[in-house]
């Protein structure tokens, strides 16, 4: 297998083993580590996690496909989650998402041709006071309007 965890990641996994009574509980921590190390969780990375934790590959695959935050293909340089749930929708999330996708020439779930921005639709992000809101590389950005979307995309594509 060509994919390997770094020494640092392996150390983190070893440290975590002492914090749970069952190694299976390391599923999400190990998958997060894999995503941090490799940028996305490929099938190869799933195999690596399965072997590292000594759990069936099917369990790893089940977890990766159940949760929404694992990228199964390489994302762009920046990841933008656009909230579509009630408060954001009421404050205009739909037209803003269309604007983002039009400007980038993508559908939700896709990455711009310059590989700069991946656009993902999301359910409630927990930032309704900033509706309509986006989660951009870990930071909440909002309330968005048409001008702010343009500025955001300009910043991300620089």
């Amino acid at each position: 297998m060509s994919l390997e965890f770094s020494a640092g990641a392996l150390q983190e996994i070893e440290a975590l083993k002492g914090q749970y009574p069952d190694v299976r509980a390391l599923m999400l921590p190990a998958l997060h580590l894999a995503q941090r190390e490799f940028g996305h969780v490929s099938l190869e990375a799933e195999q690596l996690v399965a072997e590292t934790l000594k759990v069936p590959l099917s369990d790893v695959h089940e977890a990766v496909t159940f949760y929404t935050l694992f990228h199964r293909t390489p994302p762009g340089e920046h990841v933008v989650y656009l909230c579509r749930t009630l408060s954001c929708w009421m404050r205009g999330a739909d037209p803003l998402r269309e604007q983002v996708c039009r400007k980038l020439g993508v559908h939700p779930g896709e990455t711009s041709a310059d590989r700069k921005v991946t656009v993902l639709e999301s359910e409630c992000l927990g930032a309704c006071e900033q509706a309509p809101v986006a989660l951009v590389d870990g930071d909440f950005v909002g309330p968005l309007d048409s001008d702010k979307v343009d500025q955001l995309l300009e910043r991300l594509r620089r």
């Binding site: 999400l28 977890a63 949760y67 929404t68 935050l69 409630c124 989660l135 930071d139």
Partner: protein, 425 residues
């Protein structure tokens, strides 16, 4: 006015409120110290019970009562799990507590762990909360270095080790049994209760799952007394809570207020009144406790925001998330948004929820596309009624209750879609 002085949010404006030094300066970690030095664990539980603190994640169950359910004679380890998987649409209060008051949460955890006899705690935080996670990690590092976490406390043999467990994007994991399944490494499937987690939870051991805000009030209750906290509320509930207000209001945000506040006061006196996306200043409806809560009309907002009053009004206090809908909002579209959410987030384990949310989603999508048919809305309600009570976890009910209440209270708006189609035909 002193009754509504903020407790958890009192230092939100201070840019240093998240640091250990700041927390110590205002008496931080004194409550756990005096609890360990002068109280037995059972006394702590009794104090919290007497304060009438109720679970502020959504269920509203007595916190002290929950703690008292941990069996005394079970030799297995006991776990404390913090539910920081805040995901109920409209809810964003725990995010601010973790950003601004992470040490208050940690002290609340220390006290809870002492009360229930737990030496290992997990904080399950939603993966989208990247900055709150960083704050928690920073606070945990400070607390560990200060000997408050991971070391015997104040000359006793009680110690608590804390691990932060990061979720990966799944609303269902906010439901406590799904959260535990997820913590154990599985996909987030809820489990049947009983056994309740207090008897058999994480890793088949007695486990107490408490919400971030609930635990954060605990140090204050120990410091200022159960009676003080109880006196802030009413007969069956103590204290204040953090209301997360969003949607069509002038000032969306977190408001920490006594549970005796009315929905009208919250919307108009605190959140600045109504402002729709297209400028409407007229309220049409409010969802008072997260998107699962049955909707209230503009005529029903003179209701106190405690769990019991809202239940009596036919809705629920839930997570304290208040979403205001102005007359700019089409109720059918709003219900479609909510229903699509539950369809997307249904874990798929129980047939009534998996299939029912799908049919409700499809039926509403067809209505909005101009395809409403005679009998559709009765069918919609019938599907919803067949979900309620027939699923393992409350997500099914959470999907069904909005459908029943929106159609019940705004039937003419639904029928207008049917009439528009018939008119066109």
């Amino acid at each position: 006015m002193s009754k509504s002085e903020p407790i958890l949010t009192a230092h939100f404006d201070d840019p240093e409120s998240h640091t250990l030094a700041h927390y110590r300066r205002r008496g931080g970690y004194q409550a756990i110290e005096s609890a360990i030095r002068s109280m037995k664990p059972e006394q702590v539980t009794e104090t919290v019970k007497a304060s009438k603190l109720r679970g502020l994640g959504g269920a509203g169950f007595s916190t002290g009562m929950k703690w008292s359910f941990v069996p005394k004679d079970n030799p297995k380890p006991r776990y404390l799990v913090v539910n920081a998987d805040e995901g109920e649409p409209g809810t964003f209060k725990d995010k601010w507590l973790m950003l601004k008051e992470p040490h208050t949460l940690i002290e609340g955890m220390l006290i809870a762990s002492y009360a229930i006899g737990s030496r290992r705690a997990y904080i399950y935080i939603r993966g989208e909360y990247v900055r709150p996670l960083e704050r928690l990690q920073g606070a945990l590092k400070e607390a560990t270095e200060a000997g408050l976490v991971g070391a015997p406390l104040f000359g006793s043999d009680h110690r608590l080790d804390v691990t932060i467990h990061v979720g990966a994007g799944a609303y269902i994991c906010g439901e406590e049994t799904a959260l535990l399944t997820s913590l154990e490494g599985g996909k987030g499937f809820p489990k049947l209760k009983p056994p309740f987690p207090a008897i058999e939870g994480a890793f088949k051991c007695p486990t107490i799952v408490n919400n971030v805000e609930t635990l954060s009030y605990v140090p204050h209750i120990l410091k200022r007394g159960a009676e003080w906290f109880a006196s802030l509320g009413g007969e069956r509930f103590g204290g204040m809570r953090l209301f997360a207000v969003s949607g069509d209001v002038v000032r969306p945000g977190v408001y920490e207020l006594p549970l005796t506040v009315t929905l009208r006061e919250l919307l108009y006196d605190h959140a600045g009144g109504i402002r729709g996306a297209n400028g409407s200043t007229e309220l049409k409806a409010v969802i008072p406790g997260g998107s699962s809560a049955p909707i209230l009309t503009a005529a029903e907002i003179d209701v106190a925001m405690d769990f019991d009053s809202l239940a009596k009004a036919g809705s629920m206090g839930g997570s304290g998330a208040v979403i205001a809908l102005s007359t700019d909002v089409d109720i059918v579209e709003a219900l479609y948004n909510v229903t699509r959410f539950y369809h997307h987030e249904s874990c798929g384990q129980c047939t009534p929820c998996r299939e029912g949310t799908g049919w409700m989603d499809k039926l509403l999508a067809r209505t909005l596309a101009g395809g409403a048919r005679e009998g559709d809305f009765d069918n919609l309600v019938r599907i919803a009624r067949n979900i309620i009570g027939n699923t393992i976890c409350p997500l099914g009910d959470a999907a069904a209750l909005p459908v029943i209440s929106y159609v019940g209270k705004f039937r003419s708006e639904f029928d207008a879609y049917l009439q528009a189609r018939q008119g066109a035909a």
